[in-house]
Structures are given as C-alpha cells and as structure tokens.
Amino acid sequence: MNQIDYHWERFTLKQRLLRYIVYVCFVSALFFSIRTVEVIPEFFYDAPEQMMDLFSRMWPMEFEYYPQTIHAAIIETLNIATLGTLVALLLALPLALMSASTIVSYSWVHWIARFFLVSSRTVNSLVWALLFVAVFGPGVISGVLAIAFRSIGFIGKLLGEALDEVNMGSVEALKATGAPTITILMKAYWPQVMPAFFSIILFRWDINVRESAVLGLVGAGGIGVVLSDSMNLFQWRQVSIALLAIFAVVIIAEIIVVNIRKKLI
C-alpha cells in the first residue's frame, strides 16, 4: 500500500517516440534546406552596408511629394480596403449561414460552403490580384475584388463558427410562436452573433488595410502603384515617404479598431 512510485514518467513510450519522430523529421528538413538552398554568403556579409546605403538614399524624405500623389493614393487604398471588406461580407454571409450546423442540417451543404471558404483562403491576396488584373485589367476594381475574395474565407469561417455556438433556446422559443425564418434570423441569431460579427469585420478590415497597400505592386490600384513607380525610377526619397504614409495609416487603423472594439464588447 505505502509503496511510492519512484519511476513516475510524464509521457508514455509511444508519446515519446512520436515526439522524437517529429523532432528528427524537423531537424533533417532543416539540415537538408540549409545544405541545398542557394544563398550566396558574400551577399549576407554585405547586407548591413547595403542596408545603410539604402537608408542614406531614403533620407531626407521628399515631403513635397505627399500632397501631389501619395495623399490621393492613400485615400484610394482605404477605399479599396473598405469596399473589399463590404463585398466580402455580402458574399460570405450566405456561405457562413450554409456552413453553420445550427441553421442548415444537411451535411452536403456544409461541404459545399467549406469548399468555397477553404479555396478562398488558400490563394494569397496578391495572387487573387494577379488573376483579377488579368480579367479586369489594371485598376481599382481588381484591387477591390482581390481583397474581397481573399476575405470571404476568413469572414465566412469565423462567422460560421460564431453561428455554431449560438444558444438554441431563444431560437426554439421564437419557432414555437410560429415566427417566419427571417424573424428567427433577425431576433434570435443576430443578437447573439452581433459582437462576434463586428469584431470579425473590424479585424478583417485592419488586415485588409495592410494588404491593399501592396496590391498596387501588381497593378491593382492604391498606394502600391505609387510605391512601385517610385522604386522603378530609383526615387528612394519618394519611397520612404510612401512607406511612412503606409505605416501611419496602418497604425491609425489599428488604433481605430481597438477603440471601437472596446466600445462594442
């Protein structure tokens, strides 16, 4: 009875073996990558010097350039982010409703919705932008659609998860009164998912502001167009003011989102 188990072990043999297999796989992958990747070490030793050279070319910033081009481009970037989020929301709502098991009980509907959500998320926004530039030509419309299609997966997945966690009590109560589906959606589901809804939208808008700043590199409008033009002309003093503008907008967007969130939740 009073025997003490001296050989206490935290993990079983199987657990430990599995862990070691993961470690070995990881280390061999790392070793293989370092051996075969084509890195030229001279470039690496040179990096700090080149970096300093780049920064010295960027200074002083060309502030006169801001009102000429950058201001309009920044506004355009914000518009792309906002409209993109809105379009994404319109397209993601039906998919979210279809993927929630509290609303639709057919599993084939869930799988259709999930397929669209996953394929939207796995393609990068820059790749979406390349596709839409090929379809619509360079311009703002490609940017808006690229942002929208990248966001559908994110918004749809999170909104679907929020709908899955809805408490069915109020839904059943409304159903018992014979309320039509639209009323059940508006008065039973909506009040419960509203906080999650707004925080998802704000979070995605914040991400979209960052992403829409680079879409212009492939010609999809916004500040990225200005950035890539200045870089191709080696106007580094214009590049630095554009980068500063992007940084400021990203920080302001984050502050706005954090403050609205505090008020909502």
Partner: protein, 262 residues
C-alpha cells in the same frame, strides 16, 4: 375585458444612433464607388474576359514540372529555414517582452520592436531586403524571419504572461537559477501552445513564401509571376493547384503534429 394592455416597453426599440451610422456608411460607399470610378458596365465587360481566362486555364499544363518542382522546393526551403530561425529568435524576444518577467523599460522597448516587425506587409519588407541582399532566397528568408518574430513573439509573450506563478515559485523556492526557472517552470507550461503557434507560423510562412517571389525574393512566387507575364495561364493554373495541394497537405500534417504534442 379590454384586450391585452400594451403598457410594457417595446423589447426591440429603434436605435437611432445605429440607423444614423448605417446611413453614414451607405453614403460613404456611394461616395467611394463614385470617386474610384467603379461602374457596372466596367464590371460586366470584365466578366466576359473572365470566361476567356478560365478557358485558357483549363486544362492545367504540367509539362514544365521541373520548373514547378524547383520553385516549390525553394519555397519549402525558405519556409523551413525562416520558420526555424524566426521561432528560435522569437523565444528570446517573447521572453523579453513578457511583462511579468522583465522590467517595464525592457518589455516596452521590445514590444515596440515587435510592433514594427508586424506593421509592414511581408511584401514591403521583402522589397527592402531584395534591394539590400539582392535577388534570391536569402531575401525571402530574412523577410519571413521578420514576419515570424512579429507574430510569434507577440503571442508567445502573451502566453508567458498568462502562466500560473505557483510552479515558478516552487522552482524558485528550491534555489534554482534564472535559466532553470525558465526551463523547468515556464517552458513546460507554454510548450503545447508554442507548438500550435509554430505550426501556424510555418503554414503562414509557406503561403507567404509562394508570394514574395513576386518581388524577387525567391520561391514559387517568381515562377508564378513570370508565367503571368508570359500569359501562360495553363501553367499558372498548374502552379496554383500545386500550391493549394501543398498547403492542404501541410494542414493535415499540422493537425497530426498538434495531436502528438497535446
């Protein structure tokens, strides 16, 4: 009997502020659509091109598979190296940023550094690195290391701030040194979450390493971008399918790894 008396307040009163905000938002949308020159004919005109593009994308062309494989392997290498170095560095950066282990001036400076790493999109960081270390995978690796620090270090710092201090005190009571306290009381508590962050970050580095090639930082993105520029849309389709497939395979592996470590 004069019916039910309605002397209770309406449970769903009209919320004038939210109606006002909605109206403002609608006005903003109308203004921005006008300002950016978006129009329905422009959209429908594009849609006819979309059919054209899709027709040229099928069937996907895998005949240049060696080029595809080369880019894919480079992307994987970039992702593996940058995730390992980035996560290793974030361990220390995250510890330095944890408010319950470090003095305020250290944690707040480190936090500003982390915010700086996070606030620029990887593509912009990639541009700067391509200019300073030249074209190729090295620029991609440096970019994704920066991105990993921005994400992992922040989450890791938050995980450390949430640990239970009882075990820390128990280890401290035995007279252990600072490094032993970290190794035996902090790390075991955050390790499984750390694995979660690490698999997620590898996933996001893999996605990003297929993208930063567009600005010349190595990997599959460069192959993709040149295929776009040569209008080889069937090859583009092949690259996209391969990317999606690799990411789905990784998602499956990461579920397995997470199951092993919890």
């Amino acid at each position: 009997m004069d019916g039910i008396k309605h002397n209770y307040p309406n449970p769903f009163p009209r919320n004038w502020t939210s109606i006002g905000l909605t109206l403002l938002f609608v006005l903003y949308v109308i203004y921005s659509v006008e300002a950016m020159g978006l129009s329905w004919p422009r959209f429908t005109e594009g849609l006819s091109h979309a059919g054209d593009l899709l027709a040229r994308m099928v069937p996907p062309n895998f005949t240049r598979w060696s080029l595809l494989l080369e880019g894919l392997i480079e992307s994987l290498e970039i992702a593996v190296i940058s995730s390992s170095i980035g996560i290793f560095l974030s361990l220390f950066v995250g510890l330095l940023a944890a408010r319950n282990f470090m003095p305020v001036f250290v944690s707040s400076t480190v936090r500003v550094f982390i915010a700086l790493c996070r606030s620029f999109h990887p593509v912009i960081i990639a541009i700067l690195f391509v200019k300073s270390v030249g074209f190729g995978p090295l620029a991609g690796i440096l970019t994704l290391i920066t991105a990993s620090i921005g994400f992992i270090a922040k989450l890791f710092a938050e995980a450390i701030e949430e640990i239970s201090l009882k075990q820390v005190e128990a280890i401290r009571a035995t007279g252990a040194s600072f490094s032993s306290i970290i190794l035996f009381s902090v790390l075991p508590q955050v390790f499984s979450r750390f694995i979660g962050f690490a698999t997620y970050q590898f996933d996001s580095n893999l996605r990003n390493s297929t993208m930063i090639g567009i600005v010349g930082a190595g990997g599959l993105g460069g192959t993709l971008f040149s295929a776009f520029q040569r209008f080889d849309y069937d090859f583009v389709a092949a690259i996209l399918i391969t990317t999606i497939f690799v990411i789905l395979v990784w998602e499956f592996i990461s579920i397995l790894v997470r199951r092993i470590f919890t």
